[in-house]
């Protein structure tokens, strides 16, 4: 009888543990208003609303040493099961802390590799929908000149821009894709001015890796492509579509692995690509009727080829010329 009671209570205890949502913390170097970290934040908020995790975060940590301090404080005082974040600019600090807390799963956006036993990496691998956007842009451009305004020529940006160029040049072998870097993640006024300069240099379709470009396209009555999130709402007649990143597949996978006790350090790249729902082309919001049927069909069949693995979009992280 006593044995049974112990068994029963421990079973109840285990059940209670299982129902306790996973404790998740996130540490962001930039404000969550920056689109990159915003995508991670949204996915974690969604998991919290679904009752899967309890979520807390710290943002605008910056690149001057605070990341390591905050991670250690959180690990010591809150002991979350998982810490998400972005390691760009803080790569060494994040790896140092992760090594000291092997019982916590560290899941960070990073341009480098995973680190045993507990640091997994992810990134916005949205080059596939960027390629599809380029394909569409190449077809929509009458002048054959397309403008791209981007933040910094870092690998994750280069990858997206290069894939966009591959798509544009597949549609039009002579397409001239002009790329301008504004050297900031937050300067919509400069981005708009850079886009206007491209329009004056002949561009008639614009790809907005940063905010501000869509305003220029709207002013000039041109088509534009958004990036990172569905930006059609900013200018419904201007924004055709654009590559979108979804962190939900990564978050769900990590929750499952940690809860199941099978978490291990790994590169989570696939979970941010199209096949697993980590990337997509933004909805066309009515453009499917205004664009030619052939074009939409071609786009959809190309999308299908990517989803079924028949076509692999090349990955090129060199700075575009």
């Amino acid at each position: 009888m006593k044995k049974l009671l112990v068994l029963l209570s421990s079973l109840l205890f285990a059940l209670a543990l299982a129902q306790e949502p996973l404790k998740v913390f996130a540490a962001y170097a930039t404000a969550i208003e920056e689109p990159w970290d915003g995508v991670i934040h949204q996915a974690l908020l969604a998991a919290q609303e679904a009752g899967q995790i309890s979520y807390d975060f710290s943002d605008e940590i910056g690149y001057s040493g605070d990341m390591e301090r905050i991670l250690r404080e959180v690990a010591d005082e809150q002991a979350p099961a998982v810490i998400f974040g972005d390691a760009f600019g803080n790569e060494e600090a994040v790896r140092r802390v992760a090594k000291d807390y092997p019982e916590i799963a560290f899941v960070f956006g990073s341009g480098l590799g995973p680190s045993e036993p507990n640091l997994s990496v992810f990134d916005n691998w949205i080059h596939e929908p960027a390629y599809l956007s380029g394909l569409l842009a190449g077809n929509l451009s009458k002048s054959g000149t397309i403008g791209v305004v981007a933040g910094y020529p870092v690998p994750e940006v280069n990858r997206i821009v290069n894939a966009f160029i591959v798509g544009a040049q597949e549609a039009n072998a002579d397409a001239d894709v002009k790329v301008t870097f504004i050297n900031s993640w937050f300067d919509p006024a400069a981005a708009k001015e850079a886009a206007l300069a491209q329009v004056d240099a002949g561009a008639d379709v614009l790809f907005a890796e940063r905010f501000g470009v869509i305003e220029a396209a709207q002013e000039k009555g041109l088509y534009a492509f958004g990036s990172m999130s569905d930006q059609n709402g900013l200018a419904p007649d201007t924004v055709v579509t654009g590559p979108v990143w979804h962190m939900e597949p990564t978050v769900q996978y990590i929750i499952k692995q940690v809860a199941g006790g099978t978490y291990t350090a790994q590169d989570l790249k696939d979970f941010s690509m199209m096949a697993k729902g980590g990337a997509s082309l933004a909805p066309l919001h009515g453009f499917e009727t205004s664009l030619s049927a052939d074009l939409v069909e071609m786009l959809q069949s190309r999308e299908q080829e990517i989803l079924t693995g028949l076509y692999r979009v090349p990955i090129n992280e060199e700075a575009p010329k």
Binding site: E33, L45, K178, A189
Partner: protein, 304 residues
């Protein structure tokens, strides 16, 4: 030729917020106060202008809110550095941190959770002068740009040829003498802060209500700091400040347009161009810099 015309048009668009902020800072520094709150003041003004314009549907109300925000923050700077006589560097940086934090905090309360920045249905329209002539692309500017251009001679005259200007300069050069002459040093400094704050508010409003019609986090992006450098560059004279802002705007427009032309230079070199040339000119002109003598010095009445 088209390239040059379009380049000059872009120059005026880029230089407007920097010119306005630099003119405001010039007045305040001439009265003896270095206002490092400029960057945050511009951001919070851009934000409050945007919010009021969006909620009320009136761009003019938004513009008024931006001006008021600029004035209030500069009056707060006055409270800290004039009335309380605190260190101006600390007070100014504190205001920039406070204002930036307030802007982000309120932004989250009002617009948190949106994956795209909020934008206005309509922003200030451009006003084309010289219609139908080759000059039209240069002078298709937002109204605030024309105001900024008019303010250059007006402020120059105000500062150098009116008794208001004389009082303002005297409290910035020698507040003790000004006090002996019967001036209320504190009040004159507050007046400079109020006018300068309105100009900084206008600079912020230009970004959110005219140029973009949207607000994003961090959108001032260092323009306030550039304005401070340009005040030194312009030797605290509105006309020279104008040339400094014009040069910086021109180089910024030029590098963006050279990038778009695809000239075979590394983009880093182009991006650095405005800063390198500004530093070179500053190094040359800076040797003759004539700081307002009482800059950074809090005035304390003896016995008070």
């Amino acid at each position: 030729m088209d390239f040059v015309i379009a380049l000059l048009g872009a120059t005026l668009r880029i230089f407007t917020p920097i010119l306005l902020a630099a003119l405001g800072e010039t007045l305040i520094e001439r009265a003896g106060i270095l206002n490092l709150g400029i960057e945050g003041t511009m951001l919070l003004s851009a934000f409050s202008g945007f919010v009021v314009a969006q909620l009320s549907g009136s761009l003019w109300l938004g513009l008024s809110a931006a001006l008021l925000t600029g004035i209030l923050l500069c009056v707060f700077m006055g409270l800290l550095s004039v009335t309380l006589g605190l260190n101006q560097h600390v007070a100014g940086l504190g205001i920039t941190l406070l204002a930036s934090g307030l802007a982000l905090f309120s932004f989250r309360i009002l617009y948190g959770g949106s994956s795209t920045p909020p934008s206005l249905e309509r922003s200030f329209a451009q006003l084309a002068l010289f219609k139908g002539t080759a000059l039209e692309p240069i002078f298709s500017q937002y109204g605030i740009t024309y105001i900024a251009l008019l303010l250059v001679p007006i402020l120059g005259w105000l500062l150098m040829h009116t008794s208001f200007g004389l009082r303002l300069r005297s409290v910035g050069e020698n507040p003790e003498a000004a006090d002996i002459a019967g001036l209320n040093v504190y009040w004159v400094r507050y007046q400079a802060l109020i006018v300068g704050g309105a100009l900084m508010g206008l600079a912020g409003a230009y970004l959110s209500l005219a140029q973009l019609g949207a607000f994003t986090h961090g959108m001032v992006n260092g323009r306030g700091w550039v304005a401070i450098a340009i005040v030194i560059f312009g030797n605290w004279q509105p006309s020279k400040v104008f040339y400094g802002a014009l040069l910086f705007g021109f180089l910024q427009a030029l590098q963006l347009r050279l990038q778009a032309q695809g000239i075979p230079l590394p983009y880093e070199a182009l991006l650095a161009l405005p800063y390198i040339i500004t530093i070179i000119i500053l190094a040359l002109a800076g040797r003759n810099a004539s700081y307002p003598a009482a800059l950074l010095k809090a005035y304390r009445r003896e016995g008070a």
